[in-house]
Symmetry: C2
């Protein structure tokens, strides 16, 4: 059930699973909702009701849409069940009727659930769609994938199978000579009835076609011999995968043609049906890139003697102060969710681990309705002993990010291409030795550009963007470090500069003019820490276990927090952080 | 502030930072607490007040100790500050007085905080204690570490420096010939005054002694030339590191000697002052082993084409049903913390990612006061498409754990030795091809041993332990898989067996008779899923976004959840899971 709040009234309507498609009449039935305009694509009808919530920046006032927290009403669920049963019965009856007369009936049909419940292993081998190429010419292979598209009828049907974003065309054709035939009318009919996104096993012979195949990733065909449906998708989906995979360029082309009109799937519709949305080639690629970023992050740090730690997310008191915490009851004690592993990773340094890192969730209860804030995101945190200077942290950071960027460009070529196909972006420009500018130098650049700012204030999003553009223009890099921020704009645990206490040993790191990393040398002296906290009006008592850690001897240290989703978003210039969070959480979204 | 609840009354007393040690009188002063018995070691006095809470199994009734949620009262904080200032002033005065007359005064003393605030880099190089050996004989090195122990006076002082669990002895000696001297009386006095756990920089010459050095890990000495204190620890610590690092064998030895008595540091005291406790060689090793386990886990899976994902911890509804969830308010919506990534990792499979894994926190609000339950722990989760059989999951698991165990034994030798030193354990016995027994075979083994159990019930902790012993005896392995559990004792999403619906395609994995992993083939058919959930009385409506994922076509799949802390605890036979969680959370512990 989705709840749609309009003008203070709350009413509910069932979603995808109640759009049922009857093959006989081709009509679409909605329940407890007015029927959409005839001829209007289904996805649009659904989309309209979910518009606006996550399309980049937005204000809470604009947020009229309560999220699809999705509790299906019992009545609707029962209705749905009855319908599904009817459909299933009809499908079985049809298939049985056809099969009776078909000598090839054993070569197609629905796999019984019982046959998928870990019966003794058959020894069959499945081949990945991604590896199908001309080297396999003439070989019989078995693939399992989704029914992406089906077209044609009569004696010929093309079934495109998609697996993890890769596609292959399977051709089923009835030959004129009966005795050669491996394909029957019944089989063609069965394939034509397959619903999109159903999981099918196809056995066929790899063949290299005369002409290049457009519309599939693989440049060979399968001459289909057998086809079995492993799992049926409901006949009508919340949206079509092809629609969800189109680029702006596609829409532009369509706009130039009178007879072509594409359905646009909005961000909120995508996120409401995220499992479906994630199947597009671009999304398949985005999360493989994200996985690769974590891997490269860890690989670099492990090579530098960092220890991976896991700090608690449930903590007493506010982790770093401030109001933007999620509060909860912990067995009768007031608790909150950690806004970052800041305090505990510093405590790990005080506990002699020397160099530590953590990859874990970070919780922010802020009401930030922007393209770059989430209420839960993945923090890549590191903290390390330094001997003399926060430059030691910058050196690690520098080496690490160059290794991440190099690694992505080298190992994720296919993924970056797939993303580029739907969301074109300029490759990231970065230097082998990362540019470091002081905050003062940054302000000077802006001043020369006509923007004068408070020398001890913070940069806002706009000035950060502008500075990014100026830096790119002058130094030819999208990636740089800005350091020695004013002390006043940094947290209490930031170490002031030795030569000017109005500045601090802190830094931000930017990609394409947006911040992805914040870091600093920390205050390791307990007295200074207390006085800094007091100066900022922070309740020192609530931080006593943290502050005590420094009373038992503490090495000078520094560290950083990186937002994983931001790194991927900005590396690929994706413009909305919801694209790089698998199941994003923002002030209004708690599902799916 | 720690809150100690006795007979319903709550009163508070300040901890470590208010035990101040006055060098003049050697007396210990407690504030707002009766003074401990004269002569009784401090740690014991503190310990007694924290006894019992986490020593293995315990009942809530026994739990008289409210945790050190640690909010230092303002009064106590101010008192503490005044005392620290006094001490600091006294120390500076003493050191200044000495220095005036000392020509070597520049070679020792406290480093000013200003000199640690990232001044221009000096170019000095620090050497790790762990690499100091005879190959460096005669070389001058600079080390930074903790003042572990200081002994001797007059013309000779031994300063043991500890860094990340490794120790080196530094010898400072005044030579008879004045002109040769690099060490002065003032320096000796300064070193003798260093408080334990303070961070010091020592410059000295590596020397190979005539006799082996007992009591340090490194078998060379440093002939000290310079010593600077980087960060001072408070003079009296909550407990001594030597006490925290003793093994049962040490205590047994002491019991045999009349004049020797060791202080025992209890689990709760350790956990209340965890930063200090983590500095023992065994703890340094435990968390390095833990870090290595995650690394090997990931390394194996990445090699098998798994994608790392990050699923939300904030979710609407109870993640898998059941009451043991932490609830919170999410911007006006009721929410809870995920009990596992179960639902979302399955949704990632429905989203075509094929094979996924996640390392992240898992939250359980259960009132389990045992040696093996935590309210927050680190889950190593994986989920994968299977073609035919849950054995495909077991094959991955098998290869992975053998690679983890082999990897630990090969690469963590020093760490395992350090753990063994304090907590002796038998090395884990495991087979290169992991033993798989069916649940029925397991029951049969127990039956032969005289224990008859309900064939469709679950095993309890006791019968699991017993079965572990029987398996070890019969098959010579501490690590094995028990599969085909009764359906009735598994979650609703578990796939029943094809040949007998009273059993399921599920498994647990055991180390030393304790469960570390639970897994299964999952139900991928939405109708069966709904009917299984209904059969178990679960509110299907609250799971609709999850169930819908299967309506859009779903591949057969299976997966497992591994408890990281349990793996380390049981590999090293550590007997209490609090030992393998850096900052553990149990029903009564939310700090530090």
């Amino acid at each position: 059930m989705s709840v749609y709040n309009r003008a203070g009234k709350t009413f509910s309507f069932p979603l995808a699973y109640t759009h049922t498609y009857s093959p006989r009449s081709s009509s679409v039935s909605f329940h407890s909702l007015p029927r959409p305009l005839l001829g209007a694509p289904l996805a649009v009808a659904v989309t309209a009701r979910f518009r606006s919530a996550a399309e980049g920046m937005m204000e809470p006032e604009q947020q009229q849409v309560e999220d699809a927290a999705a509790t299906l009403s019992k009545k609707a669920a029962k209705k749905q069940e009855r319908l599904n049963k009817k459909l299933a019965a009809a499908s079985i009856a049809a298939s049985e009727a056809t099969k009776e007369e078909d000598p090839l009936a054993g070569n197609y049909g629905d796999v019984l659930l019982q046959d998928l419940q870990s019966k003794p292993i058959s020894g069959r081998q499945w081949t990945s769609v991604s590896v199908l190429d001309s080297t396999l010419d003439g070989q019989t292979v078995l693939v399992r994938g989704r029914c992406h598209t089906v077209r044609g009828k009569g004696k010929l049907v093309f079934l495109v199978i998609r697996q993890a974003g890769y596609t292959i065309q399977c051709v089923f054709q009835i030959k004129d000579k009966v005795e050669d035939n491996m394909v029957s009318k019944g089989m063609i009919k069965y394939i034509s009835s397959l619903s999109k996104e159903s999981i099918v096993d196809v056995e066929g012979i790899v063949a290299v076609p005369d002409r290049p195949i457009s519309g599939t990733t693989q440049q060979v065909e399968l001459h289909g011999r057998k086809v079995y449906c492993v799992s049926k998708a409901v006949p009508v989906l919340p949206f079509n995968l092809e629609d969800a995979a189109r680029s702006e360029k596609d829409f532009q082309k369509a706009a130039e043609q009178e007879d072509l009109q594409y359905v646009r799937v909005n961000t909120d519709t995508r996120l409401n049906f995220r499992v479906l949305d994630l199947r597009t080639p671009a999304n398949q690629a985005i999360f493989r890139v994200q996985s690769y970023v974590s891997m490269l992050f860890r690989q670099f740090l492990v090579g530098q003697n960092f220890v991976e730690i896991h700090t608690p997310k449930l903590i007493a008191g506010a982790s770093e102060g401030g109001a933007a915490v999620f509060k909860l009851d912990y067995k009768g004690q007031p608790a909150c969710l950690a806004q970052s592993p800041q305090l505990h990773k510093q405590m790990a340094i005080c506990a002699d681990f020397g160099r530590v890192f953590e990859i874990g969730p970070v919780f922010r209860a802020e009401d930030s309705f922007t393209h770059r804030h989430l209420c839960e995101f993945t923090g890549l945190d590191l903290e390390m002993e330094i001997k003399e200077h926060y430059y030691e942290v910058l050196d690690i950071l520098d080496g690490m990010f160059v290794s991440i960027f190099d690694g992505l460009n080298e190992h994720c070529k296919k993924e970056l291409e797939a993303i580029n196909e739907q969301y074109p972006f300029e490759p990231l420009k970065y230097l082998k030795k990362t540019l470091r500018l002081t905050f003062e130098e940054g302000l000077q650049l802006l001043k020369e550009d006509g923007i004068e700012l408070d020398p001890f204030g913070d940069l806002n999003t706009e000035s950060e963007r502008r500075l990014g553009a100026l830096v790119k223009n002058k130094y030819g890099t999208d990636f740089y470090i800005l350091h020695r921020y004013p002390l006043a704009v940094r947290p209490f645990y930031t170490m002031p500069c030795y030569d000017n206490p109005q500045y601090s040993n802190s830094f931000d790191v930017f990609i394409r003019g947006e911040e992805i990393i914040s870091g600093a040398q920390r205050v390791h002296d307990p007295e200074l820490l207390v006085s800094r906290a007091q100066a900022l009006g922070i309740d020192v008592a609530s931080l006593s276990t943290y502050i005590d850690s420094f009373r038992w001897g503490a090495v000078p240290h520094g560290g950083v927090g990186v937002g994983l989703e931001r790194v991927v978003m900005l590396f690929c210039n994706l413009k909305n952080i919801r694209k790089t969070s698998m199941f994003p959480r923002d002030p209004t979204r708690l599902a799916p």
